[in-house]
């Protein structure tokens, strides 16, 4: 429907099965035309307080809710599920082609003997990434967003219903390759990890500030290509810190393995923190408006 980026709705599929359970109320209200108003006789005198039971008066309702209230409430429920099971959930975000799936495959190969790992793959089309993950032997769910440009909390909730999650394990969510839209949608993850590859240009944090603002870790990937491209890692980190002071930065090459030890150490530290902080989320999840 969207001619700008192709965003559309009701097209999300989980392993090819349409997911129609979220967005919009089940009891969709249909437009009801207003009944034609009674014609007033010219000579009739209408008092200000005349009772007119057939006419609905216009009124102002105060709502005062965040537009993403429903997504955020679902994200809190997801977070509660993960927290109870002491699962570390990492939401991987980047432009298309910066190496999310390669990083995942390499990370899984290095950790699969020590940890229970599962993966949710988000792409507009195909299950090619899920096939790459499946080849490593860990459980994976592919969500195809159709023409949608991001994953949302409801999609992730539907995916984890079908995914065997083990207590104390690690769940990776590979979001749709996009440096804009996924930044706004909380999935209930423990951390957002943004990847920037050195072939993309060091000014990406300035161009797409929201993504770098919400991230908890910045991975500079494809660092084996640094001799061949005009990319200054210090400058990239400096730009990122303008948006997000103190954002940790790790330079690595998923293909050749440089820097992977630092990344694994960060995961290990986060796993320990997730185990300690596993307390139920008691924040208000009431959805009622008004």
């Amino acid at each position: 429907m969207c001619t700008t980026c192709g965003c559309s709705t009701h097209k999300a599929r989980i392993f090819g099965v349409p997911d129609t359970s979220h967005r919009r109320t089940e009891t969709r209200l249909n437009y009801r035309p207003i009944p034609s108003q009674p014609v007033q006789e010219p000579e009739a005198i209408t008092l200000p307080a005349t009772h007119a039971p057939d006419m609905n008066a216009k009124r102002i309702l105060r709502i005062e809710r965040d537009i993403l209230t429903l997504n955020d409430a679902q994200a809190r429920q997801n977070r509660d599920i993960f927290s109870k099971q002491r699962i570390l959930v990492l939401n991987l975000l980047s432009s298309p082609g910066s190496g999310k799936t390669t990083l995942l495959v390499k990370t899984i190969e290095m950790l699969r003997n020590e940890l229970s790992i599962a993966v949710i793959e988000g792409d507009q089309q195909t299950d090619r990434d899920a096939a790459r993950i499946r080849a490593t032997g860990v459980p994976v769910i592919q969500i195809n967003t159709g023409k949608g440009c991001h994953l949302d909390a409801h999609m992730v909730n539907r995916a984890i219903e079908q995914l065997p999650l083990q207590d104390g394990g690690l769940l990776f969510i590979e979001n749709v390759g996009n440096l804009v839209c996924p930044a706004s949608f909380d999935l209930g993850e423990t951390h957002k990890v943004v990847l920037l590859s050195v072939t993309e240009g060091e000014d990406k944090p300035l161009k797409y500030p929201d993504m770098f603002h919400v991230a908890d870790l910045l991975l500079l990937n494809k660092c084996d290509l640094l001799p061949y491209v005009d990319f200054n890692t210090n400058q990239a980190a400096q730009y990122a810190h303008r948006i997000h002071p103190g954002l940790p930065v790790i330079s690595l090459s998923a293909t050749l393995g440089d820097g992977m030890a630092t990344w694994l150490h960060w995961i290990e530290t986060s796993l320990q923190a997730a185990a300690v902080e596993s307390v139920p989320d008691t924040s208000n999840t009431v959805l009622q408006l008004g």
């Binding site: 209200l29 216009k58 709502i63 005062e64 993403l68 429903l70 929201d210 002071p245 009622q288």
Partner: protein
Amino acid sequence: MHEMSLAENVLQMIEEAALTQDFSRVHTVWLEIGQLACVETQSLRFYFDVVAQDSIARNAKLEIIDKPGQGWCNVCRRPTRISSRHDACEKCGNYGLQIMDGDSMRITELEVE
């Protein structure tokens, strides 16, 4: 690019409010969109009209109130006006400001019948 999802979320909240607040038509929707909220308001207007077709909010007027961005400078210890997340302090040029306001997107009021 995600404005269509946002428009759908707005409509869903309106429809849920209709169930509890007993109204059958929406005339005006007031939204408050922060300058830093990563929302293209023209696009949001377009998609709201699209998703609201065949709903109780058909032909509803969308009133969008822009909320200016405000950051806090830790060097000057004062608030400063910003229009993007990578703006520097107006006074001292320091980066890495703490966002105080202007990053929210809210539905504030409805005119209903």
